[in-house]
């Protein structure tokens, strides 16, 4: 390890230091919540600034790479962790849950995601993945005295470990056949095989299957999604918001580094698998979301459907369109802000312990708390995919890329459009409840902290801004996509 290595990995180093700092601050001044939160947010801003300005290069003998994709993903991770920290205090405080530990665990999870985004080595990817998901298990169990939370967390942990093992198995196969764990070497070896025109060896096919399964679990693609509803339902709502976005975007970073980076030569082989996964994922996610009467659970299933849409971008890339990758990255950013925003509104409504996230809680929200109602409507419209919000352009870009890719991707595009139409039903149902039903609960609405408002305004601003002025973001994702290929 040299200075050179450390300065290339400065964002990651800063994130780790930040987590430790917040831990120490909380140790010295326990109970000073504002201090911990401020430290965390300021630190995150520094990490974001370091990531955005990081100079491209490699470190640790080529295992760690810093490029436009790394920067983009890092900033996105920081944004989603920062928003989660902003949304959490109201909810956690009223349930006597510690906010400082929450921030620390989140930031540790973020370091894992950042490591994935920067990894150019199969082993490092696995390391990052584990670093990212382990804090996730802790977060799922954050309300330790709540039986549901603990139950969901244990299931998540067991199945997560199971799938990690499967994934590692796949890595081992690949390493065994390629003779190296470096992404560049693997890709070079595989392209020789692909160029030879010979059929894939069964070993490589098994490796691909194990890796695909492992990754599909992490992004919660059907049929490897079973863990999501239970984990999401049981977790405290701010954690659910994070779980539906953070590990998913992190896992997609893994997909990009692994499938688009190392396994790119074999894309003719995994294209059809991704197409089937995408079609299954969005269709099943939507179908089940249709029947939910609990908004939190509905959002959990709908997040599965969104995984499907994001996979459409990957499939389009495999079909030969780089625009698919751009759409995937754009979708990731749009999804982060709109989904976190929607969960934040749910969390805000559950400020008082005991309030459920059932649809009835939303009845008459437009009259009781008009601003909250309007913001929720905005997020839901964006999730549905209605212009001019970010969600619309996100869907438009991935679907457009799929159409351009042609072949089986065209069918996938049709399925995606049909699914988007079906999704309108359950998203807009919430809007109907908010604005056209009489409120069922009496009494003054709870007061929401300034931090929550700031976060909500930031998320809604971004949801609108990305839709209205997509230019700058498109520029960035374009560079990120080109850095990868």
């Amino acid at each position: 390890m040299t200075w050179q290595d450390l300065s290339t990995a400065a964002p990651l180093v800063a994130a780790i230091l930040l987590a430790i700092t917040v831990l120490i601050v909380d140790l010295i001044w326990p109970g000073r919540k504002a201090l911990s939160i401020t430290t965390a947010l300021v630190g995150l801003a520094i990490v974001a600034a370091l990531s955005a300005t990081a100079t491209p290069g490699t470190a640790f003998g080529g295992a760690y790479t810093q490029d436009a994709l790394t920067s983009f993903l890092n900033v996105l991770f920081v944004a989603l962790v920062a928003l989660t920290i902003m949304f959490a205090p109201d909810y956690l405080e009223s349930r006597d849950l510690p906010i400082a530990e929450f921030s620390v665990v989140l930031i540790f999870a973020m370091t894992g995601a950042m490591l994935i985004a920067a990894s150019a080595d199969l082993l490092l990817m696995f390391l990052g993945l584990e670093l990212m998901v382990l804090p996730g298990y802790m977060l799922a169990a954050f309300a330790k005295r709540d039986a549901l939370s603990t139950e969901g967390a244990i299931k998540y942990f067991l199945l997560g470990s199971f799938s990690s093992a499967i994934f590692l198995f796949g890595l081992a196969f690949t390493w065994g056949l390629a003779g190296s764990t470096r992404v560049a070497d693997v890709a070079a070896h595989l392209s020789e095989i692909a160029a030879g025109g010979a059929a894939l060896s069964p070993g490589l096919a098994m490796g691909l299957a194990f890796m695909t399964t492992g990754v599909a679990f992490k992004i919660a693609a059907v049929p490897f999604h079973y863990w999501t509803p239970d984990a999401y339902q049981g977790s405290p709502t701010p954690v659910t918001g994070y779980l539906s976005v953070g590990p998913k975007i992190g896992a997609f970073a893994l997909v990009l580094r692994l499938f688009v980076g190392a396994l790119d030569p074999l894309k003719a082989d995994w294209e059809i698998v991704v197409i089937v996964l995408a079609a299954l994922t969005m269709t099943l996610g939507n179908l089940v979301a249709l029947t939910q009467s609990n908004v939190k659970r509905m959002l959990a299933y709908s997040s599965i459907a969104h995984t499907g849409y994001i996979l459409v971008g990957l499939a389009a890339y495999a079909g030969g369109r780089i625009e698919g990758l751009e759409g995937l990255l754009y979708y990731g950013a749009a999804y982060t802000f709109m989904n976190l925003g929607a969960f934040a509104v749910v969390a805000a409504l559950q400020r008082r312990p005991g309030v459920t996230s059932h649809l009835d809680t939303f009845a008459g929200l437009g009259r009781r708390e008009p601003v909250l109602g309007i913001l929720m409507t905005l997020f839901l419209l964006s999730l549905t995919g209605i212009p001019p919000f970010a969600g619309f352009f996100a869907k438009a870009y991935v679907i457009l890329a799929a159409v351009q890719a042609g072949g089986a991707n065209t069918i996938l595009a049709v399925i995606a459009v049909l699914n988007a139409a079906a999704a309108a039903f359950y998203y807009l149902r919430v809007v109907v409840y908010m604005f056209m039903r009489e409120p069922t609960t009496e009494g003054a609405p709870p007061r929401h902290g300034n931090l929550v408002w700031a976060g909500l305004w930031a998320a809604s601003f971004l949801t609108i801004a990305i839709g209205l002025f997509p230019g700058p973001l498109l520029e960035v994702v374009n560079q990120a996509a080109r850095a990868l290929t």
């Binding site: 059929a199 509803p229 352009f393 002025f469 997509p470």
Partner: protein, 648 residues
């Protein structure tokens, strides 16, 4: 200078946002921000207009474009937000911002007692933004967005007093009738995109010649359909008279001086497209001149002061379309400008009258108001003379030019009908003045005692509008066909005119042009004289009694034309029959079909999917072992399929 252009629409939208958010709390101060925003936008516009018309850099001869950002970049389909400013835009900017500003100021007084004060100003500012966006945009899609936005503002403002049933209905009527035209416009835009792959107006005009002539004709017709809706031409003219349910400043701004001109502007802007489709231009002429005479004939017998003006607006818009159709683009824009000023003046004046007689709009209960409200009277009289086409007031120059060009470009029938309409216009305008201002008061006594002139905040805009109504024709349109305006606009329409083989003839004062000029002045004088004979006159040095019995005799002798005019040629009844009764039957059948067949199918699918969803939900047993088994099975399937793929 170019960098200032985005501020012109930005100021009103900022005013709208602020007023919409906090206006309610400001009470009577709510007008401060919107009015200041519009005044600032006016000042900037004037500076920009000056720079454009004097060909300063960066505008030069052809105008300049400022690109703000790329709005929709989706592969080959991209829409940029960019503003294009050239002489045509400048002409529109003059009308829109000047009249917009004066109407804003006037509204401070006119709406002062209204509980929806802040809401009114918020809408007005939103309208200003939309209208300015419409004239500045350089892209068909952005124009369309602005087109819909002005339509929305029109809807909101017609229905401003939404508790009044007639206002709510009129708002809906305007909105729905406009939809018909807008569908056409939208289809036109899609056709342009599918044929040319661009929506940038400049590029489209440049490349329109590449297309098949049938396609070009279709595009032109579809664009014209949009213009017909927005500018209330036959057969979509029915919404504009009802739109008078809105507050009078709205009628002046939106339904006389600006929004209804959008159609004229659009056709002028895309003049080159129309020039490639001469047969469509004949349609434009026919629709325009027919609307002109139809509306003028209806205006003869209307008794609501605002409705007379509304039909007059229809008629004058018809003139403009006729001018566009015969290739007299500059004359059309010239008339658009002069008409904007004097019709805005007439509407604001009518608002002042209505205010004075306590919200009475029926001219049968007015009369003799000249003595009580002298400023309103004087300014409205100027407006009436201007619209009648008496030299040297504004309307004379523009109207004469339209008529002369129709004649010289070979559209004799257009000229003949136009001339007749000019006489009719003079007649009904002086009927309006006579009934309102001259003779004795016919309303209740207690109202007469309380008739008072409007406050200065309302009369000053009237005076300020009277000045251009007097001089603008002389200032920018003299000498005829060779004035300042022609110098500005000629380069823009040069291409279209060349395509139509229209050459610029030398103006012959002692030839054909002089003769046409005398004819149009003569017919205007005849119209005025007849009106003065029938409805009286009280000019200094010229007095005459109204002769209601002669009017009655005349209408009794011509029963059919009289009733046709009074009943607006039964268009509302015809549409009621066609669309409400017959259309209603069809709709009822479709509803039945929709409910039983379509809904049945959809609900069936819905039940099926929710059932499927429930079935799938059962997979979620909550037992980890089952989940792990599921994952294992998934893995096996996955491995199997990869092996199959690999073995291909």
């Amino acid at each position: 200078m170019l960098e200032l252009v985005p501020l012109i629409p930005a100021l009103p939208i900022a005013g709208f946002a602020i007023t919409a958010l906090i206006g309610r709390r400001l009470g009577k101060r709510a007008s401060v921000i919107p009015v200041l925003a519009v005044i600032a936008a006016w000042a900037i516009s004037m500076a920009v207009v000056y720079a454009v018309l004097t060909h300063q850099e960066p505008f030069g001869e052809a105008g300049a474009t400022i690109a703000l950002w790329q709005w929709i970049p989706a592969g080959a389909f991209h829409v940029d937000i960019a503003f294009h400013v050239d002489a045509l835009t400048a002409a529109l900017l003059i009308v829109v911002t000047t009249i917009g500003m004066l109407v804003h100021i006037y509204s401070i007084g006119y709406m002062s007692h209204d509980p929806g004060y802040w809401r009114f100003f918020a809408y007005l500012n939103l309208f200003m933004f939309s209208m300015l966006l419409l004239v500045l945009a350089d892209n068909f899609l952005v124009v369309f967005v602005a087109w819909e936005l002005v339509g929305l503002c029109s809807y909101l403002l017609i229905g401003f007093w939404y508790r009044r049933r007639s206002a709510a209905l009129a708002a809906k009527k305007a909105f729905i009738v406009n939809r018909v035209g807008d569908v056409g416009f939208a289809l036109g835009i899609m056709l342009i995109w599918s044929q040319l792959g661009t929506l940038n107006i400049g590029e489209v005009i440049e490349r329109i010649g590449e297309l098949d002539s049938v396609v070009v004709s279709l595009i032109a017709l579809l664009i014209f359909a949009g213009a017909v809706g927005k500018s209330a031409q036959f057969p979509l003219h029915v919404w504009l008279p009802d739109a008078m349910e809105g507050p009078t400043p709205v009628s002046a701004l939106i339904h006389a001086a600006t929004m209804v001109n959008a159609g004229v502007y659009l056709v002028a802007r895309t003049g080159a497209i129309f020039a490639h489709a001469p047969e469509v231009m004949v349609v434009v002429v026919a629709v325009g001149i027919f609307t002109a005479i139809l509306a003028a004939s209806i205006a003869f017998t209307q008794t609501d002061i605002k409705r007379v003006l509304a039909y007059s607006t229809l008629s004058q818009l018809g003139y403009m379309f006729a001018a566009l159709g015969v290739g007299a683009y500059t004359a059309a824009i010239f008339h658009l400008m002069t008409h904007g000023f004097f019709k805005g003046l007439l509407f604001l004046g009518s608002g002042s009258v209505i205010h004075a007689v306590h919200e009475e709009q029926d001219m049968r209960r007015m009369g003799g108001l000249a003595k009580k409200i002298p400023i309103t009277y004087a300014t409205m009289a100027i407006g009436a003379i201007a619209i009648s086409g008496i030299p040297p007031l504004a309307g004379f120059f523009s109207k004469d030019e339209i008529l002369a060009e129709s004649f010289k470009n070979g559209f004799l029938w257009v000229w003949a009908i136009g001339l007749l309409v000019a006489g009719m216009t003079a007649f009904y305008m002086f009927r309006l003045i006579g009934l309102t201002f001259w003779g004795g008061f016919r309303g209740p006594r207690e109202i007469w005692d309380r008739v008072h002139e409007s406050p200065a905040v309302m009369t000053i805009p009237l005076i300020l509008l009277a000045i251009p109504s007097l001089f603008i024709g002389l200032a920018i349109g003299f000498p005829p066909e060779n004035g300042l305006l022609h110098g500005w606009l000629e380069p823009i329409f040069h291409e279209a005119r060349e395509l139509l083989h229209l050459e610029h003839h030398e103006y012959q004062v002692f030839g054909i042009d002089g003769a046409l000029l005398v004819a149009s002045v003569a017919i205007a004088v005849i119209g005025i004289v007849i009106a003065l004979r029938l409805f009286g006159v009280e000019f200094p040095g010229l007095r005459g009694q109204a002769r209601p019995e002669a009017v009655q005799r005349l209408s009794a002798r011509l029963p059919f034309p009289y009733r046709a005019s009074l009943n607006k040629w039964w268009f509302d009844e015809l549409y009621d029959l066609l669309f409400i009764r017959i259309g209603g039957r069809i709709a009822a059948f479709l509803w039945w079909f929709d409910r039983v067949v379509v809904d049945g199918t959809v609900n069936g699918v819905g039940v099926l999917t929710t059932d499927a969803g429930r079935g799938l939900r059962r997979v979620q047993t909550g037992r980890v072992q089952n989940y792990a088994l599921g994952i294992a099975i998934g893995l096996i399937v996955m491995a199997g399929s990869y092996l199959v793929i690999a073995g291909r």
